[in-house]
């Protein structure tokens, strides 16, 4: 079982790498590196949507990621690393990679709920595999739209920030989370370890 943390020019690559190193064989990998040996590729995320999309396009990830999936590999996108897997975001004008249907809409602030949504929120699920409910760290202004949230075929994570928000999904070997497991203390560590164990158990 090998994990690759993808360095495509954005994101807190080393934070994710440091956490994964605690319980898995992990390397920081570039878009042009061979990925055959990696069961799970993680796209970290700190950044704006358009900037991240520009980098994914420049790195040829629109071809690399589907190829990885077609060989039975898994992907985990974190924050903007998840967002770029979708079709579009109100934050930018560029199209996303569209590996997952759906778009991101700007959160609306209301009294007691400023935007960005920043801090630790409870995350729950009814169907997401192996997920242990608890508090995770969020920092974002855009979230998956309700339409995507209701779409068929997703196993989902939910949170609440005034309204229900979409905190994560799993479908067709793609995990995506809006929160930052690498910065969510013991809950985040358990979450990442469980994903890695799940992928390990699914590996052919």
């Amino acid at each position: 079982m090998k994990v690759g943390v993808l360095d495509y020019g954005i994101g807190n690559v080393k934070s994710v790498y440091r956490l994964c190193k605690k319980f898995s064989s992990v390397q920081i990998v570039g878009p042009q590196d061979p990925w055959e040996d990696y069961n799970l590729i993680i796209l970290p995320g700190v950044g704006s949507f358009d900037h991240a999309v520009q980098l994914t396009n420049a790195s040829n990830l629109q071809a690399q990621l589907p190829l990885h999936l077609s060989k039975g590999g898994f992907i985990l996108g974190i924050c903007v690393g998840m967002q770029v897997l979708l079709e579009s975001s109100e934050e930018g004008v560029l199209p996303g990679l569209a590996l997952v249907e759906g778009c991101l809409k700007k959160l609306t602030s209301s009294p007691g709920y400023p935007v960005p949504h920043m801090g630790w929120s409870e995350v729950s699920t009814t169907d997401f595999p192996f997920f242990v409910e608890g508090e995770f760290y969020f920092t974002h202004s855009y979230a998956l739209s309700k339409e995507t949230f209701d779409a068929d075929g997703y196993q989902t994570l939910k949170s609440t920030y005034h309204d229900d928000i979409f905190a994560g999904f799993f479908r067709d070997n793609i995990f995506g989370v809006q929160f930052h497991p690498e910065k969510s203390g013991t809950n985040g560590r358990d979450f990442l370890e469980n994903i890695i164990n799940y992928v390990d158990g699914s590996a052919l």
Binding site: N12, K14, D50, H51, S109, P114, W120, S141, K183
Partner: protein
């Protein structure tokens, strides 16, 4: 969502210190070790403040990376950020949020570039507030620890226009004094600030001060200096994280 209780680690070179009104640093210990302790205690966030950074414009990236390696909770950094490559290096090593102070007042266009590249939620406006002695007016503080030409409201507007997604209001004149929250300062803040996550720091010296911040204001975070490094008022060094929870 829970309010954020944020240990503020003041860096003086490679030493962890605690100042009073950003002066007279007292040596506390090793910031790497302190960061590890707060991370293990699942602190809401950790804020690293390079107290000489704004003046000297020197960031010790190598040391920061060592500190980052010990944190599995969110890390923010303030001090001496002056160019877009500073943002690149800080985010790359594992800082989640980069704070800008003097850069906002001198080159807001660089802050705008950083927001475009990294998103508003990653760029934090840190306004170090100076209170004038006689009239009690509030200004943003300059690098020389005196009031700049920017009134507080002007500085906040510059940050909003630059696209910053979070604000830190640092009542520096209260820092290390245990005076609690400055209610007058809070009353002078513009209403639009309620729409943003805002952290207050400076003078929070007791658990009841923390309660005052969250029960009487709109702040979503509080920066804790003395409360996290002293056992008494500027005496007895004890790195600790208060067992408090506010929603």
């Amino acid at each position: 969502m829970k309010k954020r209780l944020i240990p503020v680690l003041q860096l003086n070179g490679r030493k962890l210190v605690k100042t009073r009104d950003l002066r007279d640093p007292i040596y506390i210990g090793d910031p790497i070790n302190a960061c590890r302790i707060f991370s293990e205690k699942n602190a809401s966030e950790i804020l690293l403040c390079n107290i000489k950074g704004s003046k000297d414009r020197i960031i010790d990236f190598e040391h920061l990376e060592e500190i980052c390696s010990e944190s599995f909770v969110p890390l923010a950094y303030i001090g001496g950020v002056s160019q877009i490559t500073d943002f690149d290096r800080l985010f790359g090593m594992g800082i989640e949020k980069v704070g800008v102070d003097q850069l906002l007042l001198t080159k807001p266009e660089i802050v705008e570039d950083a927001v475009r590249k990294y998103g508003s939620s990653s760029v934090m406006a840190s306004i170090t507030v100076q209170k004038t002695r006689f009239r009690g007016n509030y200004f943003a503080r300059s690098v020389n620890n005196v009031a700049s030409k920017f009134e507080l409201s002007d500085a906040l507007n510059i940050a909003k226009d630059a696209g910053c997604g979070e604000f830190v209001i640092h009542a520096s004149y209260n820092e290390g004094t245990y005076r609690g929250i400055d209610d007058v300062l809070v009353s002078r803040l513009p209403l639009w600030l309620n729409n943003y996550p805002v952290t207050y720091m400076g003078g929070i010296g007791s658990e009841s001060d923390v309660g005052d911040v969250f029960e009487s204001t709109f702040f979503t975070g509080v920066g804790l200096g003395s409360l996290c490094v002293f056992s008494g008022q500027r005496s007895g060094i004890l790195v600790r994280y208060p067992n408090l929870s506010y929603s």
